[in-house]
């Protein structure tokens, strides 16, 4: 009967589909609600913000302003659909966990949601953040590696009853975090231990922590945390402890910001029962996200005492120095290795010798110091080894002086100087002279001078020269780099133009004939009347010469007429020109006219004839 079963299933889903979608979905009004689970919250507590959007399924995620005062953890959203009296209504509920960052009165919101291009807002919610809950934590046992530090035994003694009658944490808190330093008044360079602990009496999963920015401290994290069980206020707490070594860099009041821990805490949830009897109540566990914060930690960093001996280079802690030499008898040119081993607790990574190691009669080569560093609950400890290769250059007894390292002991509050042992080396002459790499005879009989030590060159005195670049320097450079291509391009253009002109002289002569001739006529000196006919005749013939690429001066009036007629200027133009030229010839070889202003008339007539001819040429 599988067919029957399948058809029943299909029928069931179809009827369910029809059931929901057969109801009229009315366009509901969008309603936005927001509320918090409490109005007052302690600094180490958290509150739950719920945003409910009714009447719209397709909305943007809520935007919550003024969230800078809280750490926010989104819990996602839960959609729901209800059918009441045949009307389907949809809603969405967003949940956020908010952990306060400071005390005071704060506003959450306004909260904005967008749906179908419209924006919906709810008014801001006011929340008061009070001081942290005071915990009375059990005293930590003495005698730990760091003063005030718990020892490595994970099981701590039970919390004694609180004489003040204050509510113990167990009564009020199932999960909380604390932070402390083992020494709140360290010296600059003295290492301290910052520890934060997470106390839980419930299961916690997916824990992540965000460390504060250890400003003005050198921070060294101890990778391995530890966990143990501690009894407090009659309840048992699982304690997870993490430690960071801090080395203050500068003196003064320093505040270490809270460490934030985020994780999911397993909580029991009651399922409502049909009976009021607890026997019938069903319980199941759910993971609820939590944000925990430790308190701020104040550290007053003290300045190191002023009477530091010379050679002190900032080393703080408790140290010892061992020294050794590889051999005490060797030949010149051979190498003995001096080793200094500084070990102890403190900021020894930066340890340096108080003075530069120099030795007359020997060459010193300094190795790069090696550091063996350990980080644990005792702080930074380890060894720093300094190595020196000593190459004697002169036979005899070579005394290696004691070398010193100066440090500040914060327990004794005094500066201490560690010295290596003085050592004497017996240096014999080398049997193989060629092995004396450092003292070599030259051809001149002298020897190469070896440097005893290295140092920086001295300062420069004398006049101080200002070397600031002018603000116009780069602008000038842009101009300098733009000009040469422009000048080059212009030069090339001019050259091309000239070449073209030289290759196309006749064309230009023809083109410029009229303007040239008119210009010449206008420039004519009218005071020399006898010259006027001759000059006019020459200009007109010159014009025709330019137009027809001929020698104009050699043309007779009759040749001019023929030329103009052949050049499709028309008979009238040819005849006019011939007559005018003949008139000019009669004035040249005969008598000049007697009437007033003949010269002006002749000039304007010549211009008109030229324009007429040029116009007809253009028409043609």
């Amino acid at each position: 009967m599988p067919h029957f079963k399948l058809s029943r299933q299909v029928l069931f889903w179809m009827s369910l589909f029809l059931f929901f979608f057969s109801f009229p979905i009315k366009a509901e009004e969008v309603v936005l609600e927001s509320f918090v689970d409490k109005q007052t919250v302690a600094l180490d507590d958290q509150l739950v913000l719920t945003i409910r959007i009714k009447g719209a399924a397709d909305t943007s995620s809520p935007e919550i302003s003024s969230r800078g005062n809280f750490d926010v953890l989104s819990q996602g959203f839960a959609p729901s659909m209800r059918v009441v009296n045949g009307v389907v209504s949809v809603s969405k509920e967003y949940t956020y966990i908010l952990a306060p960052r400071a005390t005071g009165k704060f506003q959450i919101g306004p909260i904005t949601v967008k749906s179908n291009g419209q924006e919906y807002k709810t008014g801001p919610l006011e929340v008061t953040v009070t001081q942290r809950t005071l915990y009375q934590l059990p005293p930590l046992p003495k005698g730990a590696p760091f003063p005030g530090m718990p020892n490595q035994n994970p099981a701590l003694p039970a919390l004694p009853s609180n004489p003040s009658g204050q509510a113990s944490p167990a009564n009020r808190k199932d999960v909380f975090a604390t932070a402390e330093v083992d020494n709140s008044t360290p010296y600059v360079g003295q290492q301290i231990l910052y520890q934060f602990r997470v106390y839980t009496n419930k299961n916690m999963a997916n824990g992540k922590f965000e460390l504060p920015d250890f400003k003005d401290f050198q921070a060294e994290e101890i990778q391995k945390g530890r966990s143990f069980v501690q009894e407090m206020g009659g309840g048992k707490y699982q304690v997870n402890e993490f430690s960071i070594i801090l080395i203050p860099k500068i003196p003064g009041q320093q505040v270490i910001e809270p460490t934030t821990i985020k994780g999911d805490v397993e909580e029991m949830d009651d399922l409502s029962s049909a009976f009021s009897d607890p026997f019938f109540t069903m319980r199941h566990s759910i993971a609820k996200p939590r944000i925990l914060k430790t308190q701020e930690v104040n550290v007053q960093v003290r300045e190191l005492p002023a009477n530091a001996p010379s050679g002190f280079k900032g080393l703080v802690g408790n140290f010892r120095l061992e020294s050794g030499i590889s051999t005490q008898a060797l030949s010149t040119g051979e190498t003995a290795t001096l080793t200094l081993k500084l070990s102890g607790d403190g900021n020894f990574q930066d340890a340096q010798l108080a003075e530069t190691f120099q030795l007359a009669g020997a060459k010193i080569y300094e190795d790069k110091p090696s550091v063996d560093l350990q980080k644990n609950l005792s702080g930074l400890s380890g060894t720093k080894s300094f190595g020196f290769a000593i190459v004697p250059e002169v036979p005899g007894r070579l005394k290696i002086p004691s070398l010193s390292i100066v440090y500040f002991d914060p327990k004794k509050e005094t500066y201490e100087t560690l010295r290596s042992q003085e050592v004497e080396i017996q240096v014999t002459p080398s049997t193989q002279q060629e092995n004396l790499a450092k003292i070599q005879a030259t051809q001149q009989g002298g020897k190469i001078v070896d440097a005893l030590a290295e140092d920086i060159a001295s300062i420069h005195r004398g006049p101080l020269h200002q070397q600031t670049l002018s603000p116009y320097f780069f602008k000038t450079m842009i101009l300098v780099f733009t000009l040469p291509p422009i000048v080059t391009a212009l030069t090339l253009l001019i050259r091309r133009r000239r070449r073209w002109v030289s290759e196309n002289g006749d064309y230009l002569r023809k083109k410029q004939a009229l303007s040239h001739a008119i210009g010449e006529i206008r420039k004519m000196d009218l005071s020399k009347k006898s010259e006027i006919p001759k000059n006019l005749s020459a200009i007109l013939k010159g014009y025709l010469g330019d137009k027809f690429s001929k020698v104009g001066k050699a043309l007779t009036p009759v040749e001019v007429e023929i030329l103009l007629e052949q050049g499709s200027f028309g008979k009238q133009a040819g005849r006019g020109m011939r007559e005018f030229l003949e008139m000019l010839d009669s004035w040249i070889y005969g008598e000049l006219p007697r009437e007033e202003g003949w010269e002006k008339n002749a000039k304007s007539q010549a211009i008109e004839i030229l324009k007429e001819i040029d116009h007809q040429r253009g028409m043609g």
Partner: protein, 255 residues
């Protein structure tokens, strides 16, 4: 007598004007000399404060930064010394004392960063940019550029073998010095070069101190700042390693 009075008055005004013109320069020189005296007397902190006072006044001099670098080194401020030497090298790149001191001080750093192949090739190609300062290299590039175009015009007017060879050589020089000048300008004005000034600096994989610690560096390491995000800066070392650290650990080399 009147002539004498006039001359005296003229002299007085000349001195008055000169005092205005050169007064400031004399003050600067006086402070520089004082700083040098403090250095000689091994009062390095006073010398540093006087040299830095001059820097804050806007004095930009290779000698000033060189002396400041010396004073910082003497007082154990390795990072500051490296910054001062790098700034001085940008102004007086051929100063032999400066080159020797910078090499010596950088050799004293705890960390040794091996430059990547790319860095080595780039530095070899930009050799010209190391021996000339920014002003010098631009003036040289501009001069070569101008001469090249002049030769080009001559070459186009009348081609001779000499002019052709000269144009070719100048073109090659231009193709070298112009990109070098641009690269140097980018290095000094465009990108941010910094030096680590904290004794120990932790480099993280992300711009947060809770991320993975990639490695630790010590004072004096030269880095290129690639990006700033909040209090963190992304740095790149010469060997190509990258990471994030707090901006307070880095001090910028003067631009």
């Amino acid at each position: 007598m009147k002539k004498l009075q006039k001359a005296a008055l003229l002299l007085y005004f000349s001195i008055f004007i000169c005092r205005f013109s050169f007064g400031a320069a004399l003050d600067v020189q006086f402070q520089f000399d004082q700083a040098n005296e403090a250095y000689t007397a091994q009062d390095y902190s006073r010398a540093i404060s006087l040299y830095q006072g001059l820097v804050e006044k806007g004095i930009n001099s290779g000698d000033l930064y060189y002396n400041l670098g010396n004073a910082c080194f003497r007082s154990g401020r390795m990072g500051q010394a490296v910054i001062s030497y790098l700034t001085a090298l940008r102004l007086t790149p051929r100063n032999p004392d400066l080159i020797a001191n910078a090499r010596y001080v950088m050799g004293k750093r705890i960390d040794r960063i091996e430059p990547s192949l790319f860095s080595r090739v780039r530095d070899s190609l930009l050799w010209g940019g190391r021996v000339l300062n920014l002003q010098e290299i631009w003036i040289l590039a501009a001069t070569l550029y101008g001469i090249f175009f002049f030769t080009l015009v001559l070459h186009l007017r009348k081609t001779t073998r000499f002019r052709k060879t000269l144009s070719g050589v100048l073109l090659f020089l231009n193709l070298y010095f112009l990109p070098v000048a641009l690269a140097k300008t980018w290095q000094e004005r465009g990108q941010i070069t910094g030096v680590l000034v904290s004794p120990v600096t932790t480099i993280y994989s992300e711009p947060t101190s809770s991320s993975v610690k990639l490695f630790e560096l010590h004072e004096g390491v030269v880095v290129v700042v690639k990006e700033t995000r909040g209090e963190f800066q992304k740095i790149e070392l010469e060997d190509g390693k990258k990471g994030w650290t707090q901006a307070r650990n880095i001090q910028e080399v003067g631009r």
